[in-house]
Amino acid sequence: MAKVHVTTTINGEPAEFLCEPDKSMLDVLRNTLGLTGTKEGCGTGDCGACSITVDGRLVCACLMLAAEAEGHEIGTIEGMARGEALHPLQQKFLEMAALQCGICTPGVLIAAKSLLEKNPDPTETEVRFGLAGNLCRCTGYDKIVRAVLETAAEMRETAQ
């Protein structure tokens, strides 16, 4: 099978890879590029564990072909912290124990960051709808929603 050569940007860094035409972005991130922070849950776009951003837009990596990354900017969980400095959402998730097993957490964090970029002051309902595409079997969602609301409040204060 003829492989596709893809030139893209991942977490702000130029990246190149070869992939089979039918491989998903998720597959290439995890198995070709070793970026295993993006998780595979359902593989059918229902669970959100593979959430990434493409040109700043939230998508499921399992529903995108790797070949489509050509010329676009991909953002993954590996790009969320600045070195050792956690993103405020990551820090708050730790402080408020907004995770248990952790498999959904990278996807939840990427989705929550995307939500707060568009809406820095969401209501609880907006957070719940905004994260409806991220399934979590452990927390019952409440701690996640509270952590996102708390982070939003802190980020608004910091921004002032």
């Binding site: 035409p21 776009g45 959430s51 399992c62 072909l65 070949a67 989705a111 709808f129 409806a132 991220n134």
Partner: protein, 289 residues
Amino acid sequence: MTDIRYLAPRSLEEAVSAFAAAQGAARILAGGTDLLVQMRNGVVKPGLIVDIKKIAEMTEIAETPEGGFRIGAAISGATLAEHPRFGKAWPGVLEAINLIGSKQVQGRASPGGNLCNGSPAGDSVPAMIAAGAVVTVQGPNGRRQMPVEAVPAGPGRTHLAPGEIVVSFTLPPRPAGSGDAYLRMIPRTEMDIAVVGCGVSLTLQGGTVTAARVGLGAVAPTVLLVEDAARALIGSRLEEEALEAAAAACRAACRPINDKRGTIAYRIKVAGVLLKRTAAIAAQRAGGN
């Protein structure tokens, strides 16, 4: 392993010629939210994937000289939601498109894909039918236009000819006093497939309905244009009798299946209820315009 190729042409002519040349072995990739799942399940094994998102006409939103909109078939719901004027002119069409899947799915899923996937429960389709949207289709024999309701042929099937691609949706100009709405019945609050979906578009003058269109989803093998329901509304002031007549027309149009999401009797009843609720929202919006 069969050979598979990926092509992302920049022109529609190139896309159509590659798609047609593959003689049914090719699949069009817009948002991929159906195609990638079908490929993963092994339901579809394309020899060629034609990614149409690099074709400008298929991803742009244009306002027509007549005052309508032409939206590229491959545009994502999230992109459409960010347009400053589209959602004001067609709030029902936008809310229908934005009901498809999660925020993640919204980043990719397109109205063209929703239509061509051929699901009787596709959320954008009843709203597009109610809006009177017309699709522009390009194939090996050139361009043609089809009303949206003429595209679906049955679950998973369309009336597109071999090699044809849906390029764009054209929505007509909006007269003053117009409004549209889309409601679907699902047992959850989010992220589900319609048990019944209803799109209504109305134009009112001095409280009297002068134009109406009704689209009904998930109650027949294809999404339906319910002309009898529209006739019951036109000329009325949306009195209870007119609404009940339109609801009855919706119920009469239903040819639903029994499945895990709803029984035949339930779907028929809900079709009438949704017509009334959707018409009320469309009328309220029409009053604001």
